[in-house]
Point group: C2
Chain length 238, copies 2
DNA sequence: CGTGTTTATAGTCCAAGTGACCATTAAGGG
DNA sequence: CCCTTAATGGTCACTTGGACTATAAACACG
């Protein structure tokens, strides 16, 4: 490999974030409204340039803090998704973007941050024209997260620090778009060591309509073996 | 996002390839010997710059053809691994590298190609000092491939067009570093629709020492549900 | 030439896992 | 006060997968 920085057209390197959360039984993504061309007025994934002294991960966490307005993003799940490098993905210049997936427990309304005209949570299933190739990034992020729910304990990243098994089950049902049997889901989760841990004291009462549920915290486990397979689309009569 | 190509230090964008193959019951990786500083004389993963009109995927496939000397790399499994962007990963300048994993069936000896002093297959487990952060890239590639064998049909990418179930099993055993029960492996593979398909005619005779094995081809399936879990390191008495 | 080794293949047995249920408990809403 | 809702506890049958035995068909070696 020869290195001659003047022999090649310089690349701009950016990060794009697919910040996902579960709200009202639907998967939502954080989008910002672009204030300038190209795609002025379109919605787009939050993101920005990687600074000269940053890694892409550092830049992504900085952007996450800026765009969500959260004071503490250290505990949030942030993971590299993949890199998008098609030569024509940005009409102005050569931009290579490292995309990340971030999972948030609750959904605080974002303040239209730094360089974005507006920022808001948008339901993923609404057919919304988004800028650049961000629709593909978002689709890839949904695929990845859906697959990860099967064989990791990642679902707790969508939940607040203390949660009920019903809330955890709704995460699966929302991301997968299926219904799960309550008793079987409970048995599977509780049979997996380190997935969830009971909160010593209380049980939640005031909120829902049914019998109050016990509270759990996320456990130390990260992988889920054997996996929790989503109901197959096969074998269903037409 | 503001785009001003002069406001930021330019990034060089490269691709690095972890080209893996199974040979003699051991996982091998294609390494090239660097001819110049830094790391002159060290071994490194093959790779190179992304050209102005290329995507990272295109560049990776071009490099794969160049480095392996294979005339046809269209059928080979090439997959984006992740992007490495630590600011100090290259001592000379800011280089962001998109790493790929490639899986090869057999192991034709590479010709020391274009800009590499030498190229050869190296057993992955040999503790070899490699340049830059390529040891981490290689470790990530091994992790990824090992995990993918569990829940995808990717193992056939290590095999020639026609192969026996014993060869397929050796792929698993080599990548995972474990032994698998022959009858159980056979039952699992054959019970998965579309994983492998029998070759109409022949059965292999001349090669091995034991009873001749039937030949199979890779089937159309890509995902392996339920997965083929590797034997756990747990539950083993000390 | 026969015997032993090696590998492929067929089949058995049983424990764990899981889907499909049913039943009970404990809240809130009319 | 009854109905609805949701959590929780439990059963049962079927499937999966790990451990294991047995047979078949090649080669190596004396």
């Amino acid at each position: 490999m020869e290195y001659d920085k003047y022999a090649y057209e310089p690349f701009a390197v950016t990060v794009d974030l697919a910040v996902l959360t579960v709200r009202d039984g639907a998967l939502h993504v954080l989008l910002v409204e672009r204030g300038q061309d190209p795609y002025a007025g379109h919605w787009a994934l939050p993101g920005g340039f990687v600074e000269p002294d940053e890694s892409a991960e550092t830049a992504a966490r900085r952007e996450l803090a800026e765009e969500t307005g959260l004071s503490d993003v250290t505990g949030l799940h942030l993971e590299q998704l993949r890199t998008y490098s098609e030569p024509d993905r940005d009409p102005r210049m050569r931009v290579v973007s490292v995309a990340f997936t971030a999972l948030l427990p609750d959904a605080p309304e974002p303040h239209g941050g730094s360089d974005a005209a507006d920022a808001r949570w948008v339901e993923c299933d609404t057919a919304l024209p988004v800028a650049f190739d961000h629709d593909r990034i978002l689709a890839d992020a949904r695929d990845r997260v859906g697959a990860q729910l099967e064989y990791t304990c990642l679902a707790t990243a969508f939940c607040p620090p203390e949660f009920t098994l019903g809330e955890l089950r709704q995460v699966y049902e929302t991301v997968w778009g299926t219904e799960l049997d309550r008793p079987n889901f409970r048995r599977k989760v509780l049979a997996t060591p380190g997935f969830v841990e009971p909160v010593p004291g209380a049980a939640r009462l005031t909120g829902g309509r049914g019998k109050p549920a016990a509270l759990y915290r996320a456990g130390p486990a990260t992988s889920l073996v054997p996996p929790l397979l989503r109901p197959s689309r096969e074998g269903r009569p037409a």
